[in-house]
Structure formats: structure tokens, C-alpha cells
């Protein structure tokens, strides 16, 4: 997943600030007019069980109740042709 993220999104080196103040790489995307940034490491771990290439369906299946709030982003990725 880490590699897939890096191949499909713009990467910002040390662009994510962890809660302890340390920096890790971030990736960015657009959801409509809204720019969104997230942690490459966090996403790779959280959605690491999903087969590559991921789909909106397989990604949403990790969090079916959308407690993490990512479903809308996966819908945006699908609309942009990043995933199917």
C-alpha cells in the first residue's frame, strides 16, 4: 500500500506532523474543491490489508461504518479515476 500511495499521489516529504511532533511523509489529493492531506505511514498501516490495486469497495470494507470518515474520499478517488 505504501508504494501504491507513492505511485498515485503527490508526496510531501515530512509533510505530516504526528501528535508527538515528529514528521513523516504526507500525500495529498483533492475532494471536490477541498485539498486534503494525510499520512502515508498511517494510511499504509490502516489500509494495508487491502489488495493492490485497491477499489472503493475494498477500501470501504476496512471501515464499513465509516467511523474514520474516509468513504467520501474514496468516492472522490473513484470519480477521479484513481481507483475503480
Amino acid at each position: 500500500m505504501n508504494q501504491w500511495i507513492r505511485e498515485n499521489f503527490e508526496i510531501i516529504p515530512n509533510g505530516w506532523v504526528n501528535i508527538d511532533g515528529t514528521l513523516t511523509d504526507a500525500f495529498t489529493f483533492m475532494n471536490g474543491e477541498q485539498p486534503v492531506k494525510s499520512s502515508v505511514a498511517w494510511f499504509s498501516v490502516t489500509f494495508g490489508s487491502v489488495a493492490i490495486p485497491p477499489t472503493a469497495e475494498t477500501l470501504k470494507a476496512v471501515d464499513p461504518d465509516d467511523l474514520m470518515g474516509w468513504h467520501t474520499h474514496f468516492d472522490a478517488w473513484k470519480a477521479q479515476g484513481i481507483i475503480s
Binding site: 506532523v17 477541498q34 486534503v36 467511523l67
Partner: protein, 180 residues
């Protein structure tokens, strides 16, 4: 009481009209504000109440890429823990941003800015930049407000960051002025 002739009054008004921008030949004042730096105003309207801010994401609340005054902003959140941050950055002449303040929305948390750490939203209700506008511990609703306008010569950006593993509701409202 002195009696002023109508012709004198007209002359007086004409003189006044000389420095009222836009006065016409009929001496009807067409007042135009002068001396103000404000060129336009903008509204901050960021609502992640229905579709909360996703886990481990950062979103831009407002990004103004010209000289501006951030007049006011209020932010409401649904969490007390140290996982929501609001990064206020000043835009530099080269278009990059320099983080100005990190406001951790935490009762007793810390805001880091300008090389110092400042107690944020403590029991007394805030610090030199923000104050705690509402605190509803029963419903886990917190709101805080910028306490004074901030001027940015090249613009500013305000971001919301959620470092938690679940989504959180965030609502930000305010307004700013862009400058000539």
C-alpha cells in the same frame, strides 16, 4: 443665533464638497470611504459537521493569497483530547507558508508558536491569542475564538488537522478583509 445667508451656506457646502470624494456639481454628497485599506471581504465557512473531518487528515479551512486581515474566526469541535490542531500560517513573499501558531484544541493543552509554548485553553479560558468561547463537557463540544485581528502582508492559511483514528466534527466561521 447668527443668521447665515443661503448663498453663504452654498459656498460653505461647496468648499466641503471639494474634499468629499465624488461630490458632483449639484453639491449632493456622494460619500466614498477614503483612507481605508480594505479592498474586499471574505467569509470563512468551513462545515465538517455532517461529514466530519476524516481520521489522520488535514484540510484547508481558508487560504488567502494576498494581503489580508483575519478579523475573526471561531472554531467548534467535538473532542477534548489532544488530536485536533488548527495551524495558522502566514504566507511569505515567495508563496510558501510559515507556520505561525499551532493551536491544540485541548483543555490545558499547548499552543506552539513563535518559538515559545503557550498554555492553551486552560482553566482561565485561553491565552493571548485565543479564548474559550464555549465549553460543554456534557456534550463534548468546545469552541474557541480568535481574540484579536491579525494582519498578514502576503496572506494566510488556516488548516484543521485530525490526528485521531476516527473522524471528528469541526465547524469554523469567521471573516477577513483583503487589502489594497
Amino acid at each position: 443665533m447668527a443668521i447665515v445667508k443661503l448663498s453663504d451656506l452654498r459656498d460653505l457646502w461647496k468648499n466641503i464638497s471639494d474634499w468629499v470624494t465624488g461630490a458632483n456639481s449639484n453639491y449632493k454628497p456622494q460619500v466614498q470611504l477614503t483612507g481605508s485599506k480594505a479592498k474586499d471581504s471574505g467569509v470563512i465557512d468551513y462545515n465538517k459537521g455532517v461529514t466530519p473531518l476524516a481520521a489522520s487528515t488535514t484540510e484547508t479551512i481558508v487560504d488567502v493569497q494576498k494581503a489580508a486581515i483575519l478579523e475573526n474566526v471561531s472554531i467548534a469541535v467535538d473532542s477534548t483530547v489532544n488530536i485536533l490542531r488548527f495551524n495558522l500560517s502566514k504566507r511569505k513573499p515567495d508563496g510558501t507558508y510559515s507556520n505561525l501558531f499551532v493551536a491544540d484544541v485541548t483543555i490545558g493543552g499547548w499552543a506552539k508558536g513563535a518559538g515559545v509554548s503557550v498554555k492553551m485553553l486552560n482553566d482561565s479560558g485561553g491565552n493571548y491569542l485565543w479564548d474559550l468561547q464555549k465549553y460543554d463537557s456534557t456534550n463534548n463540544i468546545y469552541a474557541f475564538r480568535l481574540t484579536r485581528p491579525l494582519e498578514f502582508p502576503f496572506g494566510f492559511k488556516l488548516e484543521a488537522a485530525n490526528s485521531d483514528s476516527v473522524a471528528h466534527k469541526v465547524i469554523a466561521e469567521g471573516y477577513y478583509l483583503t487589502l489594497v
